[in-house]
């Protein structure tokens, strides 16, 4: 399972340059260097001479697919680079009929896990020069030192149980596919622990969490399942949820959002990652996932499909004796 994104950077640039030159795409959504070597930034290039600004490295965690919504009414195709998890997000947009598959050129990026930059940035390694895959660990070499970091400790949590290492939607792929096995099984033990708490403790926990929300909507804006043309939280009339900073409004906001993406969440974890207040938002989604698995027997509720568990009427096949 050796795959370092940086190894594919040149190939990516070549392919994007070719696609832009031959007119296959009119723009490409990728990554560029951000404020430091740990934080890439999204970049949209439209001319071949901009292509050398694109980068790929082991810190490219965030998905880019939601930028596609900015181009749905424009002519021509957009190109995009997508890891396995990003391809689920893209599938979400496609099955929600928000993005048309034939208007996207997807360069797939097989991925064996992305390093949690926030953890590495604490280690004082300085600007990262090189990352090498050592099997169970990554060797990260910075200009102020280098460290070998165990994957189980330094990858993003979602990468550890990921079963979508290779993009499901892709027009071409960078490098060979990687072995598609989870490093540890997906388990909902933290959710079970929470379920078993006394109601008062649960309520206290979530009150503490939601009271910290600043209603910045970053969770909504980054979420590929939050793709409505107009979000219910932005509609003034009828205003289901007020937008003042007030506990009851915050709770209503988070519950509504959780239910709006229930059964549609692709488990990318971006809501939780981008939350400036570090709310454990994925706990809500994992609880819903766990329930869907149990109640509807769908083992992978985070994989978008044409017929969604919570999006159909099947009373006529109701196995219940009573209708």
């Amino acid at each position: 399972m050796s795959a370092i994104f940086t190894d594919h950077q040149a190939a990516l640039r070549d392919e994007v340059r070719k696609l832009l030159t031959d007119g296959t795409i009119k723009g490409f959504i990728g990554y560029a260097r951000g404020r430091d070597s740990y934080h890439p930034a999204p970049a949209i290039v439209t001319r071949p001479d901009q292509v050398d600004g694109l980068i790929l490295d082991q810190f490219c965690i965030f998905g880019l697919t939601k930028y596609l919504l900015d181009y749905i009414f424009e002519d021509g195709k957009m190109g995009i680079v997508a890891k396995g998890c990003d391809s689920l997000a893209l599938q979400r947009l496609i099955t929600d009929h928000r993005v048309s598959r034939d208007k996207v050129h997807v360069i797939g990026l097989p991925c064996a896990g992305v390093i949690n930059a926030e953890k590495v940035a604490q280690l004082g390694l300085g600007n990262v020069q090189k990352v090498t895959d050592k099997g169970a660990s990554f060797l990260v070499e910075g200009d102020k030192g280098s460290r070998e970091l165990a994957k189980t400790e330094y990858l993003w949590d979602k990468c550890l149980w990921c079963e979508h290492h290779n993009p499901a939607v892709a027009d071409s792929k960078l490098g060979p596919e990687v072995e598609n096995v989870a490093m540890k099984p997906r388990d909902y033990s933290d959710i079970e622990a929470m379920e078993n708490l006394p109601p008062a403790e649960k309520a206290a926990y979530w009150t503490r969490q939601f009271s910290r929300c600043i209603r910045c909507y970053a969770c909504r804006n980054v979420c590929p399942a939050c793709n409505c043309r107009e979000c219910v939280f932005d509609i003034a009339d009828p205003r289901w949820v007020g937008n003042t900073v007030k506990l009851s409004e915050q709770q209503m906001f988070h519950f509504t959002r959780a239910w709006h993406v229930a059964g549609r969440c692709v488990d990318c974890g971006e809501c939780e990652r981008v939350c400036p207040m570090e709310l454990p938002l994925m706990k809500l989604q994992h609880k819903l996932q766990k329930d869907i698995v149990k109640l509807f027997g769908n083992p992978k509720p985070f994989e978008p499909s044409e017929v969604e568990v919570l999006g159909q009427f099947r009373a006529t096949e109701d196995p219940e004796e009573f209708m």
Partner: protein
């Protein structure tokens, strides 16, 4: 500013007994937009309604709230009242302060408080109401009757007599149903076939009736007045236009099989009509058992058929037809008493069911009406009839009473005495004879025909020589009894058709825990289902005897006739509506709609920069939509609204109750 009038009903003491009307009035008067408040002892009475109309005119009201009983009772009444005074019928809201309040609360202070809340909810909601208009849809003037037993035949005849075309779909080769299998009928003992066959012939000859036997309903789409039904016409392998029903084919057919019509007591051929008076009198070929279909050889029927009517290559046909009304008359099945191992049904040949006895005693049956024991053909002298086999037994059978067994057991007792002077012993739990002439009939069995009725259950039946010993208890005497019988008849229960639930799902109607179809209201709407335009007749709704079945069939027919005689149907305007401006076109609503009323459509839109784009939005077919609201909860944006129950309405109600 609206001008809302609130009318609080006492409903005699139904409401006034548990709700302080004066307090409700005082509170209502202070609610926003309310300009007039009045109370009435019975608002639904003529003076009550006149008061509303008077107030609308004099007080210039533009919205009305009636605080009374459930909208299921009188919403339509009051809609007519307000529209009679010139207001749109949908500018009315009902606050249910009876079923939701006075009837369920024991505390007057709390009940009053809740009544005030319910009125406030309605006042807030009615302010958001807008005038809605009913549309009209065409009615397909044709009825479908599913099932060709006595219920279906009667319903079809009544509809046809009213001048409307009707199609009977029957799954077996002939119409007639269970009634054709019976010998005599209680309480008059007239011959079942003699009274049924004229009706069968009438049905066959009636210009307005089309018989589709050996056919089944496969798919039902659409709605009241406009059902589209797909019927599978199973391959008969007979060209019915050529067949004369002469019978040579089945006399020549070499494949002998147990006859379903005779419940396995007699035989039929692989090409057969189920019984001599079958209608149509045209055979079917049983593909599974026909030697030609199994081996590719034989064709005896084809060789001998003088009309050249055998068509081995016939295939099932799917016929799609439109109907305005559907009557479900699929009847019942006799319960298989095998779970009562102690009675030995299936083990002892001479233990038979009630329906099997009907075939034994019937002149067209396997013994030509001679009552002979199935085992050795001897004429039985002592016969035990066991009642409630399956019925009223939650452990082994079914919880309900099958209603007909007491009477048919009395009939069997009479026939046994009358025909072969056998002595009938009837083991019973209760004898239930509510019906005209029924008690007298039961008395006739005991007094004139000397049937011995023993109150108690039989615990065991076992063979002793050529006798069947029935051990039981006479609970009236409190002692054990043992009757040595030559034959045992089990009065087995009436249960649902095996495919009843499947058909219910096809039709979109509901059924109860016993798989009998559910009527819309147990007392007041006994032949309607909850799906508009679909009616029930006969034992598919619950165990029934013939008179009851016929009465219900005629009732269902009159409902269907009423529907078909309308030039147009008015539709409810309370349907879903799409706010295209905010609809994302995700179409999550489409698979969720139970009525297939939603589809995507492409709209053109000018966007910033002057460019015109095309995008997909949801679109509702208003005549298919039933206003259930499933789409509105599926829509995250809130682009779907059920008119009369919009997001705005609901939020106003929440505000009224919670703020």
């Amino acid at each position: 500013m609206r001008r809302v009038g609130v009318f609080v009903c006492w409903c005699g003491s139904n409401i006034a007994g548990m709700v302080d009307i004066e307090q409700v009035k005082a509170a209502a008067a202070k609610m926003p937009n309310v300009v007039y408040v009045e109370d009435n002892k019975y608002t639904c009475s003529e003076p009550g309604q006149a008061a509303i109309q008077k107030a609308i005119k004099e007080q210039n009201l533009d919205r009305v709230v009636v605080a009374a009983c459930s909208p299921r009772m009188h919403e339509n009444t009051f809609r007519r009242t307000v529209s009679g005074a010139g207001l749109n019928a949908y500018l009315l809201e009902i606050a249910n302060i009876r079923e939701h309040c006075s009837w369920v609360h024991p505390d007057k202070a709390a009940g009053t408080k809740k009544a005030v809340d319910l009125v406030r909810r309605a006042v807030y909601k009615v302010a958001k109401n807008v005038p809605l208009q009913r549309a009209s849809i065409d009615v397909t003037k044709k009825a479908l009757v599913i099932g060709g037993g006595i219920a279906g035949i009667q319903a079809a005849l009544d509809i046809a007599d009213a001048g409307q075309p009707v199609v009977i779909v029957e799954k077996t080769p002939s119409i007639g149903g269970h009634m054709a299998q019976l010998d005599k009928t209680f309480p008059t003992l007239d011959c079942s076939a003699c009274i049924l066959t004229p009706k069968m012939v009438d049905a066959a000859q009636n210009q307005n009736i089309t018989l589709m036997t050996w056919s089944e309903v496969e798919k039902v789409e659409g709605y009241i007045g406009n059902f589209t039904v797909t019927i599978r016409k199973k391959a008969r392998h007979i060209d019915t236009t050529k067949c004369t029903g002469c019978g040579i084919c089945w006399s020549k057919c070499p494949a002998k099989l147990p006859s379903e019509f005779d419940l396995g007591l007699g035989q039929r051929k692989a090409i057969y009509v189920p019984f001599p008076q079958a209608i149509p009198n045209k055979p079917v070929i049983d593909e599974k058992n026909c030697i030609y279909f199994k081996t590719g050889k034989c064709k005896a029927c084809q060789i001998f058929c003088p009309a050249g009517a055998i068509a081995f290559d016939q295939k099932d046909e799917l016929i799609e037809e439109k109907f305005g009304a559907i009557i479900v008359a699929t009847g019942y099945e006799q319960w298989d008493p095998s779970p009562y191992g102690e009675y030995g049904y299936g083990r002892y040949k001479d233990v038979i069911t009630g329906l099997e006895f009907e075939r034994l005693v019937n002149a067209s049956g396997p013994t030509e009406g001679k009552i002979k024991r199935p085992s050795d053909g001897k004429i039985p002298k002592d016969v035990v009839i066991i009642q409630c086999v399956g019925s009223r037994d939650e452990a082994k059978g079914i919880p309900y009473c099958s209603k007909t067994c007491c009477m048919y057991s009395a009939k069997h007792a009479i026939l046994l005495d009358e025909k072969i002077h056998a002595h009938p012993y009837v083991f019973y739990m209760d004898v239930r004879t509510p019906g005209k002439g029924y008690e007298e009939f039961y008395k006739r069995a005991t007094e004139e025909h000397h049937a011995t009725y023993i109150r108690g259950r039989v615990s065991k039946v076992y063979q002793k020589g050529d006798k069947l010993v029935c051990l039981g208890e006479d609970t009236l005497l409190g002692k054990k009894v043992a009757v040595e019988a030559d034959m045992v008849i089990l009065a087995s229960a009436m249960v649902h058709q095996p495919a009843a639930s499947k058909l219910a799902q096809t039709l979109g109607i509901s059924y109860d825990q016993n798989h009998f179809y559910t009527e819309a209201h147990a007392k007041l709407r006994p032949v309607e289902t909850n799906t508009a335009g679909i009616f029930l007749a006969g034992a598919c709704q619950g165990p029934k005897d013939i008179p009851e079945t016929v009465a219900q069939a005629s009732a269902a027919a009159s409902k269907a006739i009423g529907l078909l005689s309308k030039a147009k149907l008015e539709t409810e305007p309370l349907v879903a509506q799409v706010n295209e401006g905010i609809c994302s076109g995700c179409l999550w609503c489409k698979p969720i709609c139970p009525y297939k009323a939603i589809d995507g459509k492409v709209i053109k839109e000018r966007i910033a920069g002057g460019k015109t784009i095309e995008r997909t939005v949801a679109s509702v077919n208003a005549s298919l939509c039933q206003g259930c609201g499933a789409c509105t909860v599926a829509c995250r944006t809130g682009a779907m609204n059920v008119l009369g129950f919009t997001n705005e309405h609901i939020l106003a109600e929440v505000d009224a109750l919670c703020l």
